[in-house]
Symmetry: C2
Subunit: 362 residues, 2 copies
């Protein structure tokens, strides 16, 4: 950002401000769409990163089949904004979630698919389908190496698919994978074995969804994959730079912060702390963000509203009052801290974009 | 919480939910008030922890002189709710902050005091006083050992006080300290030297403010202190337990989460991840929260909406669907993640309390 643009953003919105460059956003959206098309899979970007129907609409207009949501609240916001094909890649469990899912099915015309990785979740879903008055598509989440959510073996995947297919109001729709980077071969083995097991029981996976921005270079490499879910790529961050899938020029989001104190010659204090940039280390990065214009400056620690800069290795030390840009370690959690993003295009402020699904933790 | 209460909260509000026990809140408020009275200082609790005028009002009614805010947005919310004595313990810098401060001074009848630790901040404040049509009280923030914000020497404190006193519309009001735990003696030396310097220039500190929940046992031990700012004690958390100033029974806030997947026998997955509990380690605690009812369970890692439990040392492993309480590492950042707290009293749900100043990062 040019100095005059920084000053204008700070004058209008104050600091810290979370700023996105719509030119870069459009480029990143196009890049993901092109990667999916080249890989022969549909694009279903994950909205957890932006939580904004405005940005989801840009993704759909660029060719995305639909969106992925991690929370029911995100899906409700997207459906209300007219997004018509929504995958909720999460175990929805308990009476409140089942009740809301039923209402969503009844009140929205959107295609809704949910994920499950265990029979307790599956057992609760028929009530949502009944209340919604239509069949609910369910995919089985599979753990293909990340040790996060998902059934652990192809056999479990088949058993859960049969459980789904046997329940009133539910349809088995496919498999959801999130292979680790470089994990195509082991994911393929899991998938092939699961698909053989499904076929033996007269079932088949209409959807085979892979995931992740780190996996961008591997999109389409799992044979049989039908679609991909990537979130972070719309903005990128320091973590994606470290993963080798983004450069600084691909980073479309920065936190504009002000140096509000210097305290000592080798120290500085930003007005962005853990309540803005979050304590996310991005998987063990050094410091809590990158200051592209101040090489050597390191965000060494946080208070809630203070970012403590170690300037000892910084040749040009920013004075009190200086506006600085910070590329966050992890954009998805930073967007979630604010009610609106400041959008710029071609070097000028366009306005703000509400983070509509922010804070919808349930 | 009794199992039936957990179920009722989950049924009404879904999970995760951030729940406070108003009986414990009232006890914690009374404890802080009593500690201040015993120490001979006024109580000015820090609202960064709760960001709620409802809870600030409870603190005022228990005897607090006023409140402390870390952000202008917090002060605006508190003033609009009728809180009439507000200290903003932060360098307010830049045209947007100065403009808002001027409006706050003009439109509110509240006593407003701000902090500064450098001449750039001080130079901007007369414009706020001019726009506000009244004198602005300014305290000098002093670093008495924590190496956070604050002037580093008594001499700098005196120089900044003289700067403030010489500016149109500003009044030097006192000194703001946040001594490290056990740092009474060094804070005393700083304060005595600063006060002697002030006296030599015909100035005096009407306010000498100390801070912190970890410093609760030391309230009033700095001679000349007039008031104390403590935030976390209203709820307490794992960090305050580790600091030895709270027990589990003093913790008035818990995140109610559900086990949504088990993945493997020694693992479990909560529906509360880094977008609810935050990645705050509480200064290096083991794991991202405490599960009082499942000793041995450890929140080992996060995804944004998943908390990954290591149950290998857990004798009674919670099944999928189980509701669990999590005492966060750091409550102040967790409250900031949600729009409302669920309040219970005497074992029953009272309703929700809005976190009105949430997300007001600027």
């Amino acid at each position: 950002m040019a100095p005059a643009l920084r000053e204008e953003i700070a004058r209008r919105y104050g600091t810290p401000a979370v700023v996105i460059d719509l030119d870069r956003v459009a480029r990143n959206i196009a890049r993901l769409q092109a990667a999916c098309e080249a890989g022969g899979v549909a694009n279903r970007p994950h909205v957890k990163t932006h939580k904004s129907p405005v940005l989801a609409r840009m993704q759909i207009e660029a060719g995305a089949r639909g969106v992925t949501c991690q929370k029911l609240g995100e899906a409700e916001v997207m459906a209300a904004a007219g997004i018509d094909d929504i995958l909720i890649s999460y175990n929805l469990l308990g009476p409140q979630a089942v009740g809301r899912l039923g209402r969503l099915l009844r009140e929205s015309a959107a295609r809704i698919t949910v994920a499950a990785d265990n029979p307790v979740t599956v057992a609760g879903l028929p009530e949502a389908a009944r209340a919604g008055g239509r069949t609910l598509d369910v995919v089985v989440e599979c753990d293909t190496g990340r040790r996060r959510a998902g059934v652990e073996t192809p056999g479990e995947a088949v058993a859960l698919a049969r459980d789904i297919a046997g329940r009133p109001g539910l349809a088995f729709a496919g498999l959801l994978l999130y292979p680790p980077t470089g994990g195509v071969a082991s994911a393929q083995r899991f998938l092939d074995e699961a698909q053989a097991g499904l076929a033996a029981h007269g079932l088949s996976a209409r959807i085979v969804s892979t995931g992740g921005t780190p996996n961008l270079p591997e999109i389409g490499q799992v044979r049989g994959a039908t679609e991909h879910r990537a979130g972070t790529v719309i903005f990128n961050d320091r973590m994606m730079m470290a993963a080798g899938v983004a450069t600084l020029q691909d980073c479309a989001l920065a936190v504009l912060a002000r140096v509000v104190s210097r305290a000592a010659p080798e120290r500085g204090i930003l007005d962005a702390g853990s309540k803005t940039l979050t304590s996310d280390t991005g998987g063990g990065l050094d410091g809590f963000g990158l200051l592209p214009d101040h090489p050597g400056a390191r965000i060494a620690a946080f208070a809630e509203e203070h970012g403590f800069l170690d300037l000892s290795a910084c040749p040009e030390r920013p004075a009190v009052g200086t506006l600085v840009e910070v590329v966050p370690n992890h954009v998805c959690v930073v967007v979630n801290m604010v009610d609106a993003l400041v959008a710029v295009r071609d070097g000028a402020i366009v306005g703000t974009i509400p983070v509509e699904a922010r804070g919808m933790i349930a």
